[in-house]
């Protein structure tokens, strides 16, 4: 630029690899980011609408039991036992091991769900209050 302004008669040098790479990087990055956003939008926006259509129909009870339903557990015994518990009350869980999953058994899943659903009551190994659950 300086040479041209000062009337340098030599033709301007070709851009270096560095300059070409830098310019290409900036343009490519902006275009690729825009393309990525478009791919994402095409993929994700229908999922968003599906999720809204599916989940907005859930009733309060269905929402409360959503985790149990996903695990195919009968939520009625959980509701019945929870209604009798007081905060910080100790309880134990009596459940058969059930089928083995990739990491834990179905019985352990019931114990975990009980721990979540019965809070603020506290699950312990042995207690006077016992929640019994049987698989159908």
């Amino acid at each position: 630029m300086e040479r041209r302004l000062q009337g340098d008669p030599r033709p301007p040098r070709r851009p270096t690899l560095r300059l070409k790479t830098a310019a290409a990087s900036l343009v490519t990055a902006a275009l690729a980011a825009a393309t990525s956003a478009i791919i994402g939008a095409i993929e994700v926006l229908p999922r968003v609408e599906d999720g809204i259509a599916r989940d907005s129909k859930l009733t309060g009870a269905a929402r409360r039991h959503a985790a149990a339903d996903r695990l195919r557990l009968d939520s009625a015994p959980f509701d019945a036992f929870r209604a009798t518990l007081r905060p910080r009350e100790r309880y134990a869980v009596d459940v058969p091991p059930g089928e083995k999953g990739p990491f834990i058994t179905k019985g352990e899943v019931v114990r975990a769900y009980s721990a979540f659903y019965f809070l603020p009551a506290i699950q312990v190994q042995a207690a006077d209050r016992v929640f019994r659950y049987r698989f159908r």
């Binding site: 690899l17 560095r18 300059l19 790479t21 830098a22 310019a23 290409a24 990087s25 900036l26 490519t28 990055a29 902006a30 690729a32 980011a33 825009a34 393309t35 990525s36 956003a37 791919i39 994402g40 939008a41 993929e43 994700v44 926006l45 999922r47 968003v48 999720g51 809204i52 989940d55 907005s56 859930l58 269905a62 929402r63 959503a66 985790a67 339903d69 996903r70 905060p87 910080r88 869980v93 990739p102 990491f103 834990i104 352990e108 114990r111 975990a112 769900y113 721990a115 979540f116 809070l119 603020p120 506290i122 699950q123 312990v124 190994q125």
Partner: protein
């Protein structure tokens, strides 16, 4: 009313973050505070979570009063630091920034409709995160009856408490254990991270590159899918991503405030999940390798992060809590490792495949890889090498977990592969605009070789 409570708590967290910016040196005038205020929301959320998580260990409940005190103290300190600076003037954003903001707002509003009705039904979301959040809300602290109870071992008791503390804060603000509105906090984390990246990068990255990059992150299908599950992987990834970008900015500019922001957010990542330690260690390793002459600043930053994590590590030691999925000590169990070394390359390839899946993450990682190569070709060293080191070390570290675990590796890999990579992809995506901008800025700098020749 519950939604008002949730938004009110988030408003206070924003104010707490706003006060923190001058204290970290990120704003030395009211004008800078306005210009960088996008960082305030994420910094405030992370700060509130860190304070709440540590107070939970010493029987102190963190609710409205504590949050208001934190915001007031932070604002007072921040205002004191800015007391002699001139009043702010509102900046005029360019049309690209206005269009980009409008597009992001539209995406967030659309996502918000889904987050507002989502049920809490995914295993880790209720069995780990919401359970702990509910326990902190109900008992007011990390009561060992739950947080060290043998019947609660399934809940990864050794995971730190940043996310459950944030959830508990929301439950207190809503005055209810509301598992539906809780999802909105996860969406607000995305808002905070995008605003933080915009504020962090807008004066280094051309708007025509910055805003498409932010949109690409927000619209990556895995970001929506994984945030909606209410798992901790994407929250960790978002906090970590902004920290990585702040670290990258510090490499280029040597501004102390950038490292301050990175330190705060790295602390948040450390207190979110155990994997956060791997990612943060990989980042510090990368920073140290390429900026070893600035080692003192890095040692101070790392020491602060270790101090923030220390109370939780003491709690874990007192109650003898262990990771139920793997033990790093098994790295030295040669009988166990000997038969499983073949798992490493399989895990490495599988995780790599997940990271470049365009239907999950768009083109975020391929674009990052191309720009690292381009940056190296144009003679840049520090930023692309930092990017290479932390991503590769994190990727190798994640792959190693599948080698040392006692679970059957294919089940473990299948059930986690899509989400554990979130921090790597989001961190890369956050660094991508900076890499492209620095490559462009470096276009006319003389090659290092010729500089050496001419100087001799």
């Amino acid at each position: 009313m519950r939604i008002a409570g949730l938004l009110g708590a988030n408003g206070l967290m924003f104010l707490a973050g706003l006060g923190v910016l001058p204290l970290l040196g990120a704003a030395r005038s009211w004008r800078q505070l306005v210009s960088r205020s996008g960082l305030a929301y994420l910094c405030g959320i992370v700060l509130a979570g860190i304070v709440a998580a540590n107070l939970a260990l010493v029987r102190v409940s963190f609710g409205w009063i504590a949050l208001a005190l934190l915001a007031a103290a932070s604002l007072t300190g921040g205002t004191w630091r800015l007391r002699h600076s001139p009043r702010p003037t509102l900046p005029r954003p360019g049309w690209i920034a206005v269009a980009g903001t409008a597009a992001l707002v539209a995406v967030i509003v659309e996502y918000g409709r889904a987050f507002a009705v989502a049920p809490l039904n995914r295993y880790d979301a209720w069995a780990i995160w919401a359970l702990k959040g509910h326990a902190l809300y109900a008992f007011g602290w990390a009561d060992p009856a739950v947080f060290a109870g043998s019947e609660y071992r399934f809940a990864n008791l050794d995971y730190p408490l940043w996310l459950p503390s944030l959830e508990a804060l929301d439950f207190r603000a809503m005055d209810a254990f509301d598992t539906r509105l809780l999802h909105l906090q996860f969406l607000l984390l995305l808002v905070a991270a995008l605003a933080a990246l915009a504020a962090l990068l807008h004066d280094r990255v051309p708007a025509a590159l910055l805003w498409p990059s932010l949109l690409a992150m927000a619209l990556a299908p895995a970001v929506f899918d994984r945030l909606l599950t209410a798992y901790a992987d994407v929250p960790l990834g978002l906090v970590f991503a902004v920290a990585v970008a702040a670290g990258g900015r510090w490499l280029i500019t040597n501004e102390r405030w950038s490292l301050g922001i990175a330190t705060l957010l790295f602390a948040g990542a450390l207190l979110t999940k155990n994997e956060g330690s791997l990612f943060v260690a990989a980042s510090f390793l990368g920073l140290l390798l390429v900026a070893h002459r600035r080692w003192r600043a890095l040692v101070v930053a790392a020491a602060v992060d270790v101090l923030v994590l220390l109370p939780w590590k003491v709690y874990v030691r007192i109650y003898d809590l262990h990771d139920i999925n793997y033990s790093l000590a098994d790295t030295f169990d040669f009988d166990h490792i000997g038969g499983r070394l073949g798992v490493g390359p399989i895990a490495f390839r599988t995780l790599g495949g997940e990271m470049v899946d365009p239907l999950a993450w768009g083109l975020l990682l391929p674009l990052f890889a191309v720009l690292v190569v381009a940056a190296l070709l144009t003679g840049l060293r520090a930023l692309p090498l930092y990017a290479l080191v932390w991503t590769l070390v994190s990727w190798l570290g994640l792959s190693w977990i599948y080698v040392i675990t006692h679970y059957e590796y294919s089940s473990y890999l299948d059930s986690t592969k899509t989400r554990v990579i979130a921090s790597i992809v989001l961190g890369s995506a956050a660094l991508t605009p900076l890499l492209a901008a620095e490559t462009w800025a470096n276009r006319r700098a003389p090659p290092r070789v010729s500089v050496k020749r001419s100087s001799t």
